[in-house]
């Protein structure tokens, strides 16, 4: 399962996969969960179709990247396309703490409870 890094040193490759767009607002968190709102359609860009298949169940940005074997940067752009089109929806992390902030104790209690039970 371990693999050598794909050849991502070539910016032209990124350009190809993402259709050359470099938009702002593609700052999805690594653990934002994505859910498909529709099925892939014929003629859809293959990466988009693959994401819609993956996200039939909630799937994190980082999981999409690992599964598609694409860098996070590229996946964020692909996801932004699908989000814009309403084809996927995002469940953002509830408690992303601010720089020096902490999540509330209630959430941490739930995390502790979960960890103790695994």
């Amino acid at each position: 399962m371990r693999r050598r890094p794909v050849d991502t040193g070539d910016p032209d490759r990124l350009y190809t996969v993402t259709g050359g767009r470099h938009r702002a607002g593609e700052s999805l968190d690594l653990v934002t969960l994505l859910v498909s709102e529709c099925e892939p359609t014929a003629g859809m860009q293959s990466e988009h179709a693959r994401i819609l298949e993956l996200c039939r169940h909630p799937t994190a940005v980082v999981e999409v990247a690992a599964e598609l074997r694409l860098p996070i940067t590229v996946v964020r752009i692909l996801l932004a396309d699908l989000l814009d089109a309403g084809r996927v929806t995002a469940r953002h992390p509830r408690a992303a703490p601010s720089l020096a902030g902490l999540p509330d104790s209630q959430l941490l209690k739930e995390v502790l409870h979960g960890l103790r039970n695994i």
Binding site: A60, L102, L115
Partner: protein
């Protein structure tokens, strides 16, 4: 010794449809210290590998020459997953702690609950930089000492704390990254620490 699970399912073990909150913990340390091993020990999926690409422009280096904007750096990291309950999913990231990778940390790990600094006492130097950066970013962390049998001199936690100049409030634990219960205990130590800090903060008006 517990079972370091060898038969973990691949990623396509889907989350429940009610999953709504992703959480992050970062495991950081030098090469070969046991990061991937620890993640594998507690993960419900086989650790997966992915990568982030960074152009030099994004690193904050002023680069007047447009041709050099083509220069990119790739950093690979692995991750595992723990479903805490129907709604909450914890992702564990194993990331190299070397200085040259830290420009990516803000981007990759913003919003993390906290970090585990994994230490091999034979190569304590490897984690100084990581600790320094975590303190700088005020990211809460614990230090876990991964004990290797080959480690001839068994320094006590006190000695290691001193060598790392760790403040008293930073929890330290010993662990065996291959052991599921031990790896779980490391995570619980971190979240316990976070909980105490959150309680103290909430008690302060």
């Amino acid at each position: 010794m517990g079972s370091a699970t060898s038969e973990l399912p691949s990623l396509r073990l889907p989350l429940t449809d009610r999953a709504e909150t992703g959480l992050k913990i970062v495991v950081v340390g030098g090469f070969g210290v046991g990061k991937t091993t620890l993640v594998r020990s507690v993960s419900e999926i086989r650790p997966l590998n992915t990568e982030e690409v960074m152009t030099r422009a994004g690193v904050g280096i002023d680069e007047p020459d447009p041709a050099s904007r083509k220069s990119t750096t790739t950093v690979a990291f692995d991750f595992g997953r723990i479903s805490l309950n129907d709604r909450m999913v914890l992702y564990l990231f194993g990331a190299p702690g070397q200085e040259r990778f830290w420009f990516l940390w803000d981007r990759l790990f913003a919003g993390t609950l906290g970090a585990v600094v994994l230490v091999d006492t034979r190569r304590v130097d490897d984690c100084w930089y990581a600790i320094d950066r975590l303190e700088h970013h005020r990211t809460p962390f614990v230090v876990a000492v991964n004990r290797f049998e080959q480690d001839g001199v068994r320094y006590s936690l006190g000695e290691i704390r001193q060598a790392l100049a760790l403040p008293a409030h930073v929890p330290m634990v010993e662990c065996d990254a291959r052991d599921r219960q031990s790896a779980k205990d490391v995570l619980i130590t971190l979240v316990d620490h976070l909980y105490d800090m959150a309680m103290a903060q909430e008690a302060t008006p």
